[in-house]
Point group: C2
Chain length 216, copies 2
DNA sequence: GCTGAACTTCTTGTATACAAAATGATTGAC
DNA sequence: GTCAATCATTTTGTATACAAGAAGTTCAGC
């Protein structure tokens, strides 16, 4: 793999884990030293991150970490919910029996992780579940766009899932999704996924509380 | 503006106008000579285009022009239709009277361009119309994503609109959109925009015919 | 004491030089 | 004559050097 790509991943990781705070300027020299490379691959990495929206590139000024605020987060979740709903609607018509089994297996692993209280494993399996739905939409472009957004929102989903009882509720929603897909009911699958992802009611407050705690 | 950005725009232009055909390798040296700069800004431009999906970057091999095939085009239009439908659904509730007037004015300019047979002006005004709808969704993230996709599909919309009578039909659909938005009818606005953008029935054949002609 | 302008310094943007890898050609063996 | 292996060439990826612009500082003037 190109150094520039691995560097991009590592910077992304550092931003998402909070090592770089909102508004921080990412100095090319410092990053080059940190990774033991020259500025060239660092620049490529930063430009790539700028395109993904994780940082902002101000010409001749530098690149700055740009954490989404509450408004932008709500906006992104609103879009994500509709994208997932679309995946569900299409998948309900196109999904294969084998994929349905994959979903059930992913759900079983989710439930096991939940039982063990293993949050990390839960998040990983949860992501796997959603990626299967994306793929089974039968629309490769849609699947890749959905994956991109999912990845971008992943850390914020985690914030939201920290609230008491949310993980169990999330599990139940997954099963409703599988039921609707198995029944081939496009509108029910769409509604189940939209409701699962949308940030509304209690979930809104959970997310805001998570944001405030993360800001500390 | 940075040289790298202007170069990216120019390469993009060259790809969309067909100067670079599908599968062509974009040589950094040649491009650097062509634009009278070094390889550095050319590389930045190519990496940027790779992220937007216009070219494919094969590590250690080079970047290759990657025109979407029929399947990928249909997939992208399917997603675009749903994104526009979502914009319409939200805009129906949130649009301002001033924006409605903007839409009517854009439509009037579209009609004027159609009357003059000025296809370029028509495309420009058509894009303006859609961008207003995106903006009035009240969701800034959605608007920017919609704009990105619109821009990516723009040249193929043109192919499709070449078919006899399609431009007049497109105009009529715009007016149905405005009517639904003015009435605050979210579902009708969504359906009108979905139908306007979706590639189905006759439009599918128009697009394929345009693709074949463009391939020559 | 404060404001403003020039200067210094620091950082980004671009050019060039070098290293490594992939492709293609050439030569030798079968 | 064909196939394979090695070598040369070409091209990407990275490092370094240089140029230009922006921000902060200092000094002069009011």
């Amino acid at each position: 793999m190109r150094r520039a790509d691995t560097i991009a991943s590592e910077i992304e990781e550092a931003i998402l884990t909070g090592e770089f705070a909102d508004g921080d300027r990412l100095d090319e020299h410092r990053l080059a030293d940190r990774f033991g490379v020259s500025r060239t691959p660092v620049r490529e990495a930063l430009l790539k991150l700028a395109q993904s929206g994780l940082v902002e590139h101000a010409p001749r000024r530098g690149v700055f970490v740009r954490h989404p605020g509450p408004v932008e987060l709500i906006e992104m979740f609103e879009v994500m919910a509709e994208i997932e709903a679309l995946c569900g609607r299409l998948a309900a018509r196109r999904i294969s029996d084998a994929a349905l089994d994959e979903l059930r297996a992913a759900n079983a692993r989710c439930r096991a992780a939940l039982g063990r209280g293993d949050a990390d494993a839960y998040y990983a399996e949860n992501e796997g579940f959603h990626r299967i739905v994306y793929r089974e939409s039968g629309n490769g472009f849609l699947a890749s766009e959905a994956g991109r957004l999912h990845r971008r929102l992943q850390p914020f989903r985690r914030l939201q899932l920290r609230a008491r009882g949310r993980m169990a509720q999330s599990m139940a929603e997954h099963e409703a999704v599988v039921d609707a897909l198995a029944a081939g009911d496009a509108e029910r699958a769409a509604a189940a996924l939209r409701g699962h992802v949308a940030v509304q009611g209690e979930k809104f407050h959970d997310l805001m509380a998570g944001l405030r705690r993360a800001a500390l």
